[in-house]
Symmetry: D3
Subunit: 188 residues, 6 copies
């Protein structure tokens, strides 16, 4: 115990079902102090011909992409300066908040703002955390350390950062960034 | 759909069961694109006399405290400088990482480190996010803005911050903090 | 087999649950050729604290009255000329259709229309049939034979009739009547 | 809520399962005041190798035909005077009761009785209602209006009628008819 | 896994439910190679107002006594020569088969037959095994060793025995006994 | 009632599932006084992609062989003196206890011990009883009568016997034998 049974319409992939099992196992453990080994999840897929609500059979909606994957893919595209790919991952009303910057709404604005600040930045990840909000968006946190080069060509590394993303229907709608760059500059 | 059925041993409070319903509803929505209204959760409590594993009846473990409440209570105690209360909420091997500070292990070290940095700080919260890791700890994020007074008596406000807590069995085992204090100092 | 399991919120009476069992047993037998003895119904009542949809606990709606009882009560009130009681059982937009009569909307209209046709009528019931429409109303049929007195004081009996009622939220919204009164008159 | 789960042996068609969903949705709504959208039906088909009663696997009985279809088919055959087809749909001990007629037991008797009454009759349907009795038979009501020609060649239309059928194992065992033909004759 | 769910009518004692859990856990392990710890049993008791078969609510039958207890009680009564108590535990058509004895039908016959064979016998039990036959009776085996006194007053001990009982509705209907008494006599 | 639902991982044969149905039907009848016809067993097989414990999908363990078949096969091999086949069916630490014999651990020892006792023995079976112990082994009882030839060539028959086997993971780990051979010798 606990034993979780999930009924969904048939049509999800094995990977989708593994993800369902993982999020449910983790979720219940936030309330019930059970080790993962004590949590059983059984997923019962209903053929749509065997399920009816409101006197009508229903079709399943395709699974949402893993929000951690969405965030990772976006971060990789940004790091590779593949702005076209990154741009396609943005939802309407996307906003970005970086330390010391005004709220920005486009990748171009970000690139322009960053230009005088560093030549390039590479992220090393310590971990990702993902959760679903009660609203429509999922939330992804990623944290780790930054390395790269300052505009004067000197290099830096080991600067802590954390990003928070809001992702709706697989598209990024918000990014908030915190890091120790200023702290680093104050020190040096 | 989806329909979630949870079987747990009898003995949880109404509030525990509401929390179970909430975390499960949110969790499945990270994979299945359903609005909350389409998610049904049914909790079946088994009297321990009706449940048996390994030929033995079992007793339920008490619910874990809401990790958001744990983090909030700790933050309030710290803000009120009630170090005794705050100290009681720390688990073994507690570590704290603040911007520009060495890793710290005690509240005393933190107080000492902060003394030359600000007279006091008050937090205004924009939001809390909580999730359970696959390991033993839950994770709580809280973000918002800092206001307070610098050592010279001038006041500040609107400085962005984010805290990340790891909470095991109701006790804090790790705190990581990011904020724009240095950014602020660089600017001023 | 078949085995039917019903999950409803807690709060229904024993009689409500017996009615649920009866209507479900009968319904499935319209498709599956099983004798009643082969049909099992299990009703699982969920405490509202254990049920959640859309992240909210829900309260059960009180059971609808048995539509056969509603029709019977109305017919008894009419037979007893207790127009006040009968009137209270009518829903908005109530319509009545009797053989050879224009569509009527009030009991007064009916009384007036019937006055020259018979002094009184008593119904002997052969049977009631009830079903729920896919729309909001339930449907009740009652059939049997009429006896009574013509305006000239001569008596009659054994005249076949059938009534069809539509009942919404316990109130009558439509009554259609067929009978052999004219047939009788043609003959005599 | 309510949530209905039905377990039957595997082997029913998609149409059978849709019918099961419909009759159960409608049935429970006769007691629980829920709109159809609030009623979920899940049909779990058991392979016969996974189901056992009395230490024996069982095979499913084929679904009964939709009684409304049975009644419609019979009425069409009668209207088309395809007596052979209509005759095949009659069960043993079939009885017919028409306004002003003695109880009849064969289609020939009906044809003979009707001959001096009208040349032909066509039915326009306002609706069908079907339900399963607690006994073996299903019940179908159909109502609407009659049009056709009297023996003298004059035509008629708009005469209200209602038929009640009892159907056992897909065969008609009883028909009761009410209509306003006599009422019409009285008036004209 | 495996996970067993049992639905029974409400009214069984805690001890009854423990026994149900034990027999089901053991039974499934005869087919599925799972240690007991991997077998979960959940017993769902249905209030009789929530259960219906054949359109009728049902009442639960009281649990059968533990057949091992029945056998033990009988053996104790026999050992204590409480023939009255033992006699009450016998069902109709009780038969006893002992090594070298004709089939017997009464305790008196047994006592008479045993008289010249030993003065008294005491049983030390190595174990009991119980199972339910597909027919009405349960079966209990008990084995161990006999000690006692021969008619000449010399004592014996350590003579192996095994008894097989058939128990129907809590009453003994058959006893078969094997032991090494003759083997012992041959040797001595 | 009772209604038993079993959830196991997918991958069992039809015969495995029939055996599961039989052992569960019999088991519950040891406690609940229901005839077999009142016991329903439904086996729900979970695809391993739909089942997760401890955040991991699981694979089913192959079913254990029917212990009665194991015992029968061993007895047949012994009767046919196919010692090689019989030997392969023995688990580690196999022990045999026969009337009047020291505990033996090998088939050779048994053959040697039996040589001066009878030329050959054939078993006629009256019945087999099988059950699973709470420990790892299943238990099989078989009883009936022995016929054969004594060392002097005279034949015998109708000598009662009972064997008790312990079977772990399909291998015999213990055999205990009781019979009336000595009783027979005493008499003759």
């Amino acid at each position: 115990m606990p034993i979780l049974e999930l009924r969904v319409l048939e049509g999800y992939t094995e990977n989708d079902k593994s993800r369902m099992g993982h999020v449910l196992t983790d979720a219940i453990r936030m309330v019930v102090p059970a080790p993962p080994e004590a949590v059983t999840v059984m997923i019962h897929e209903m053929p749509h011909t065997s399920y009816m609500r409101g006197r009508e059979h229903r079709v399943p909606a395709p699974a949402l992409p893993d929000p951690v994957n969405v965030a990772r893919t976006f971060l990789s595209a940004m790091e590779a300066r593949d702005l076209e790919a990154a741009q396609k991952m943005l939802g309407p009303d996307f906003t970005m908040t970086f330390p010391g910057a005004p709220q920005m709404h486009s990748l171009d604005a970000l690139i322009q703002w960053a230009a005088p600040r560093y030549r390039f930045v590479t992220k090393t990840y310590d971990g990702f955390d993902a959760l679903q909000s009660p609203a429509e968006h999922a939330i992804v946190y990623c944290r780790g350390s930054l390395s790269g080069e300052w505009p004067d060509g000197t290099s830096f590394e080991g600067i802590r950062f954390i990003d928070r993303f809001e992702i709706t229907a697989g598209l990024l709608t918000r990014q908030d960034v915190w890091n120790d760059i200023a702290e680093h500059k104050v020190k040096t």
